[in-house]
Each structure stands twice: as structure tokens, then as C-alpha cells.
Symmetry: C2
Subunit: 235 residues, 2 copies
């Protein structure tokens, strides 16, 4: 079954979108080439679509095929924290026990592969290599979460921004040190525990100091060593 998620704007200026299943009698399930032997559904979602709601039961895990996804936690008074940005090849759902604690939303149009949780578990039971891969994956996620705890707990705004730029440059592997940020400034802010305004200010300050060049969502790193120094090179 191919599930196609369409944005459905709710009344008012709220950006909340709902899932819409399309083509319920569509093409048959595809085999995943990545997690061999595990059945998966292919899912497509437009920009800003909620793919997993914050308190959905955690029946599925997701592998991002293309595009960018954010994991989101919303507090009752509107404060928002973005857990991570997922790019092609990234995986979401390891932390799931009975239900998710973070939702998942499309930052750009995305294609992802959805795995039934229990089938991953069952496959890991039979295949210890795969089980090891899952453990390695979990270890990496834990380390990156720990790095974020350090950043959010003890780093200044400019340090967080610098680290974020270096992280994105590294992950997108862009040539010529030119990063295309798929997410908005407010996404970046909610990822780094800052406000949109502070993100803007730090970016323009770095531009004034000739460390980067900004052109809307395009950011060119002009002085990588200074940027690394700003990031504090403390892991």
C-alpha cells in the first residue's frame, strides 16, 4: 500500500495538518532494499504534514528515503522543542516503547519507508547482525542526544548556531561549503532552544564578521576555522 499524505489546512491560520490516506487500494507493499527481508510501506508527505502525532501509539518506525523531517514536542502553552532533523538515510522510532513522545513532521516533501515495529523486533531476534546494527544505531542516537544536552545546557547562542551550521555542513556533505538549510529559522530556533530573532541576529553577526554568507536558506561557510572556534570544539 502506498500512503500519500496530503496537507489539509485547518480553519484559522493554524498550521496543523492531518494525515490523509490516499490510494488505499494502491500498489502492493515493496520490499526494503535497506533492511533486507523486512516488509515496509512507502509513504510520501508534503511540506508541514504531521506524519506521526506526538502521542500516537508507536507501532511503526521510519526510514527517511528523501527530504527532511523534524521530530517535534509541543508543550501545552505552545512552547515547542524540535528533537532532531532527519535527512535521507536517517531512522526514527528506536526510542519508541509503547507510544511516541515526539511527533514527526515533514520539513520538505519527503518519502519514507515505514516498518512495523514488531517485525523489526522479530527480524532482530533471528538475525544477530541486524540486532547489532540496531544497537549501533541506538548508541549513535544516544551520543547525539547527549551532545545536544551539553549544547542546550551549557552553550551560548552563538556556540549553538556555529555547531548547528557545522553539523548541517557535515551531514548534507555539500561541496564548496555551501549549505542549503531545508528548515525555517523558527525550526532552527526550536531545535537549539532559542528564538527566531536570536538565530537571525547570530547569523547576521557571523556574516558581519565574514565567517559566513547568508542568502535566505543558502549559507556559505567562508571561514571554517573561525566557525569551529566559535563552536568551541568541545565535542
Amino acid at each position: 500500500m502506498l500512503t500519500d499524505l496530503q496537507p489539509t489546512r485547518t480553519p484559522g491560520n493554524s498550521a496543523v495538518l492531518r494525515l490523509v490516506q490516499v490510494d488505499p487500494a494502491g500498489p502492493a507493499r515493496v520490499r526494503s532494499p535497506d533492511f533486507v527481508g523486512i516488509r515496509a510501506s512507502l509513504i510520501r508527505a508534503e511540506r508541514d504534514v504531521v506524519i506521526v502525532a506526538q502521542t500516537d501509539p508507536a507501532d511503526y518506525s521510519y526510514l527517511i528515503i528523501s527530504g527532511c523531517v523534524r521530530t517535534v514536542r509541543l508543550m501545552s502553552d505552545g512552547r515547542r522543542q524540535i528533537g532532531e532533523f532527519l535527512l535521507a538515510g536517517d531512522f526514527f522510532g528506536l526510542e519508541a516503547l509503547d507510544e511516541h513522545t515526539f511527533g514527526m513532521e515533514a520539513v520538505t516533501p519527503v518519502i519514507l519507508r515505514r516498518y512495523l515495529h514488531c517485525s523489526l523486533e522479530a527480524y532482530a531476534d533471528r538475525n544477530s547482525d541486524f540486532a547489532r546494527r540496531l544497537r549501533t544505531l541506538a548508541a549513535k542516537r544516544l551520543r547525539s542526544e547527549q551532545a545536544r544536552v551539553l549544547a542546550l545546557g551549557r552553550m551560548t547562542a552563538s556556540e549553538r548556531i556555529a555547531r548547528f551550521l557545522l553539523e548541517m555542513a557535515d551531514r548534507t556533505g555539500a561541496p564548496g561549503c555551501c549549505i542549503e538549510l531545508p528548515m525555517s529559522r523558527s525550526d532552527v530556533a526550536d531545535y537549539l532552544g532559542l528564538t527566531t530573532e536570536t538565530v537571525c541576529r547570530m547569523l547576521t553577526q557571523m556574516q558581519r564578521e565574514a565567517v559566513i554568507t547568508i542568502n535566505r536558506s543558502l549559507i556559505a561557510i567562508r571561514d571554517r576555522s573561525t566557525l569551529a572556534a566559535l563552536a568551541g570544539n568541545d565535542g
Copy 2:
């Protein structure tokens, strides 16, 4: 082999302590009753002893038998972030790939069991139930790290303190809502991304408002519902 870690104060007022292996020809290895079939060494450490340094190779994982342990990340300029407080029954080392990113220090005198990493892996390969337990453990850790990212990124000082008190009350399972905090105020501060002074101020403020009663390391929760309200009950 029983390894006994003794504090060894370095010159100056630095609190850095080094491991000292004692009794190298001590009693033979003991069998762990918790992780059946896996060999483990028993380790004892006094207060403030560094059990694992920040960049140690990650050959071992640890199970806390008794006492309290903190995981620590130190930046080059002295800023410190505590990753977590581990109590009896807690486990450390899942996030280890090649080397640790956080060190581990004794908050109180502790006894812990040390497992060779590769023997855990090998056991998980043979025993899928154990592999599942490891995955569940990793999932729980990931969720708690995510909760901390939310707290450090988007919560106020009083919210963090309130959450911390509730967390500790829950984990120590103390009767009568009286918590004995094993760690110092500055440990709490470095755990919550605050300063010692702010932790004190928030605690005394809660005492003025009759939410808690403070007596050095003893804290009694007098009004749990107000405390929960302060914590914002947003997961």
C-alpha cells in the same frame, strides 16, 4: 578481581581525582546475578572518584549496585554538564561506541559491576531475549534524554527544579515524600543547566511558598500537586 578506587587529590584545589587500582591479586571474578551468564568485575569507589574518564576507551559497561554516580562532560573552559545521575539498578555504557563522551564519577561511595563490552555483545548475539532487554534499555535512555532536551531547551529554572524533585522522589521511591539528595547543589545545577545560586534561590522560594521543606540534603515535598503544576506536567 576486585578493584578498589581510592581518591587521590591532585595539587591545588582541583577536585580531579584519579583511579587507583588496589588489590590487583584480590578475589576472583564474581558471577553477575543480574545479567546471567556474563562475567563481571566488582568495583568500589569512594566519593568523587573518577571511575571513567571523559575520553576513556569504551571497553566496559557498568551496572550500579549501590550508591549514586554522575556522568560528566567537561568543556575546556571549565563549564560542566552532568548527563545523568545513576542509582542502584541503573546501567551505564549503552551509548559507548569506540570511546565514551561522558565520564563517570562517584557521587557517594558506590559499588558497581563492570562488564566487558564485547562479552555483552556476544551474549546478546546468542540470547535474543537479552538483546531485547538491551533495546528496551536503550529506548528508555533515549526517551529520558529527549525529556532532558525539552527541559534544557524550553523550560524555566523553576520548572526544571520542580521536575528534578519529582524525578528524584519517583526514583528513590522514598516514603513520606521525603527525598534525600545524594548530590550537591552544584551537581544539581550542572545537571539542569543552571548555577548553584539559582538552584538555591528556587528551592528557598518553593520553601517560602510551602511547597517543600529544605534541610540541607533532605527535602520534603509538602504540596505535591503544586509542585507538579510548577513542573508543567508536559511529560
